[in-house]
Amino acid sequence: MGKMKFELVEEQNTIIDSSDTLIKVVGIGGCGCNVINDMCQMTMRDVELIAINTDSQSLNKIDSHEKIQIGKKVAKGRGTGNTPEKAQKSAEEDRNIIENKLRGADMVVLVAGLGGGTGSGAGPVIADIARGMDILTAAFVITPFNVELNEEKSRIVRESYASLKDKVDMIVDIPNEKILELFTEDTGMDEAYKAVNIVLIDIMRGLVKMISKTGIQNIDFADVKRAMKGKGNSFMGVGKASGANRAKTAFENAIKNRFMGNPNLNDANFIVINFFGNMSVGDIKAIEELKLKYTGAGAMVKFGHTNVADMGDEIEVTMLISGLHDDALSGQGGTSEAYNQFTPLAAASKKDESSKPEESKETVDKEIQSAIEKSATDFMEGNYENEGLAIPTWQRIDICRRHLPKLN
């Protein structure tokens, strides 16, 4: 195990206005837009909220900074009837509009419920657009209750998850099913949905706060970027606690994330941990101890703490861990459990990761060649009327995109 590289970010006494980091949160589909709406009602600060849907009626109900109705031609304002393919076309149709709305963002956070149509189909396209613009991108996805699942829906969840994972820098999965443990039998579906939304919003707030909390800032965008860009899976946890031992308890709560399972920190290569609250000397001591405890890990660890006066007795901790192996999240994670009966997501994503190095250059070249040939045929047969022609070839064709040099 490598020696831990340790870096302590000192508390600064200056107030830094971090408004130069622009985060855009994009809700896609019914679920994504509901979350956006909840964020508006709960006043999510320091971010721009964008709602995207194929269904014009549902969009009308949403309160957000920006709304985009995609696929006016394909979906005609009536949603997709749970066909991700239709949603994908819709998003492709409006690529330019989406691109314009994302422009200027330093980071984009996508929110979608998987298993329906719009979120599952348009999500990966939007992720792709953000990636094409070189914007740091995270996806927060909600996966369905077990009772909702059937063969088809599971397939949609699996495929859209894998596709998103391939395109974003970090994916955070919040299974609806996990919230059930907290409710009684007669809890209404709407209420349960709302509860999950709040959990998601909490985690996202942690992330946003870590980057753009105006106040004393000691973990910055560059750290988060570095963590998210790292190889492997990421983990995000938020924990709160008050009373005695609150720093340590908050930390433990964040790590024992009931939605994502316990990360195996030995695998991590970059850990960003930030505490928020009305920090006391005792809390600082506790944090120092926690730091010592992680001296063994072969990861770069970055601790920060931000004084927030109006939090009373409560301490909140947000952590972002990257470089985890696929199985580092197994055990209690919703990700692997909820879809076991069909095909676990983790396995699906593992497959595409391990298959990459096996591909020889020749195989790849052949694949690229035939993908481009197919695209050329499609355009020709459509008498070049298809609007997609203006979209960069490398961007339109998946395999080309995967074989581009990393710039910057």
């Binding site: 690229i368 481009i372 695209s375 355009f379 020709m380 581009l404």
Partner: protein, 417 residues
């Protein structure tokens, strides 16, 4: 037509990215270039005019620039112009006529015209018009492959023709643009014919040659075989898309991306070695370094796709290599892309060269128009001068333009020389 006399022609090529005007004195069949003017055009898309007033502005500016170079006494009232875009299509047709007046008689122009008229009398949708009728051969009493039947004897004349048509409204937009710019349009030619005429040698056209004009908005294919145009196809993909493909990669403005593409763009990574280039930001206040070779992947997938389209269009039409034994000629600004020649050689085989207006056709300011992006404009002059008679569409029109203009021009010239 009195083309032994010295006359002056102004030709305007309205390309997707630029309008270029060439003013030339015609001496016999020689084109003596005396003025060239170019202006950026933001009024066209994919080869067709989308904004008449902007295109007209560009036309006027380019003509005036050319005039300035030609000398202030050169006045331009009439021009010939080009038309482009994927609405241009060609079809083969066949015409027949019999000489009934006497048994054995010499074939006259009138007989030829009747054969052509018969070939032209095919149903044409109301929204399309005929732009060129190009005879590929005449067949006299069963004997084929006759290019010029004048003076021959026969009873039955047949002709195979290639008819190029265009969407009436889009052709009309060229007329309107020229008119709005303040000129009268005397004739209009499709762009690939211009490019072919400027760049191709006679023996290539005889043996068979494939012309590929890669412009900013379109890639035009023209096949010549046995001295006649056999096929055209316009693919709405050009250099502007390549620039567009690079924008998200370079994260800077379109115009900076365009400059970088022209200066450093390439298809083969190895041609750049470890060279590092500096990419300015949108405001040109700072630059960011990158490996030049990293431009290649972003460009090459578009080029692969474009040439897959070219090959598919040829295959669709049943055109194989035997029909272009003399090889491939690449022209248009896009032909300057570093590595393209090698790519086309490897990808399509045969001999490949970059085409610029042929020196043998041009005197005067040759060094100015000696570039692939000027093939079209020089070629439409050449077509006008040399093959005017072969564009049988003009048979019934008065065709008095050369003399009309030349009288006025001659007056100026006499004061000059």
């Amino acid at each position: 037509m009195s083309n032994q006399d010295e006359t002056i022609v102004a030709a305007v090529d309205i390309g997707t990215t630029k309008v270029v005007t060439v003013i030339a004195e015609i001496r016999g069949k020689q084109i003596n270039v005396i003025g060239v003017g170019e202006e950026e055009n933001n009024g066209s898309q994919q080869g067709t005019i989308s904004n008449i007033s902007e295109a007209a502005r560009a036309v006027k500016a380019s003509v005036e620039k050319a005039q300035k170079i030609a000398g202030k006494d050169i006045e331009v009232n009439n021009v010939i112009a080009s038309v482009g875009g994927k609405h241009l299509t060609g079809i083969k047709s066949h015409g027949v006529t019999t000489l009934t007046l006497s048994r054995e008689k010499e074939i006259t122009q009138a007989d030829k015209d009747r054969a052509i008229e018969s070939a032209k009398s095919m149903p044409l949708p109301a929204d399309r018009e005929i732009l060129h009728v190009i005879p590929t051969q005449y067949i006299i009493d069963g004997q084929d492959e006759i290019m010029d039947p004048l003076g021959m004897s026969g009873v039955r004349i047949e002709t195979d023709v290639y008819i190029v048509t265009g969407a009436t409204t889009l052709v009309e937009n060229v007329r309107k643009t020229i008119k709005m710019a303040g000129y009268e349009m005397d004739d209009i030619y499709i762009q690939p014919i211009g490019s072919g005429n400027a760049t191709l040698y006679e023996d290539e056209k005889e043996l068979g040659v494939l012309l590929i004009d890669i412009g900013g908005g379109t890639t035009d294919i023209a096949l010549y075989h046995k001295n006649a145009l056999k096929f055209i196809k316009i693919i709405p993909v050009g250099g502007k898309y390549i620039t567009g493909d690079l924008v998200p990669a370079l994260q800077t403005s379109k115009s900076i991306t365009e400059e970088i593409k022209k200066q450093y763009g390439l298809l083969y990574e190895e041609d750049a070695g470890e060279e590092i280039i500096e990419v300015p930001d949108r405001t040109r206040t700072s630059t960011r370094p990158m490996f030049r070779k990293d431009l290649a992947p972003y460009i090459k997938y578009r080029i692969y796709e474009l040439f897959d389209m070219v090959k598919k269009e040829l295959k669709n039409e049943g055109i194989d290599k035997s029909l272009y034994g003399a090889g491939i000629v690449l022209t248009g600004g896009g032909a300057k892309l570093n590595g393209l020649l090698r790519f086309v050689q490897e990808n399509m085989g045969g001999s490949v060269r970059i085409g610029v207006p042929l020196q043998e056709k041009v005197t005067g300011r040759y060094e100015v128009i000696d570039k692939p992006q000027y093939s079209t404009v020089v070629g439409i002059i050449d077509y006008f001068v040399r093959e005017h008679g072969k564009n049988e569409r003009l048979i019934s029109s008065s065709g008095g333009f050369l003399t009309k203009t030349s009288d006025k021009i001659k007056k100026f010239l006499s004061e000059f020389f």
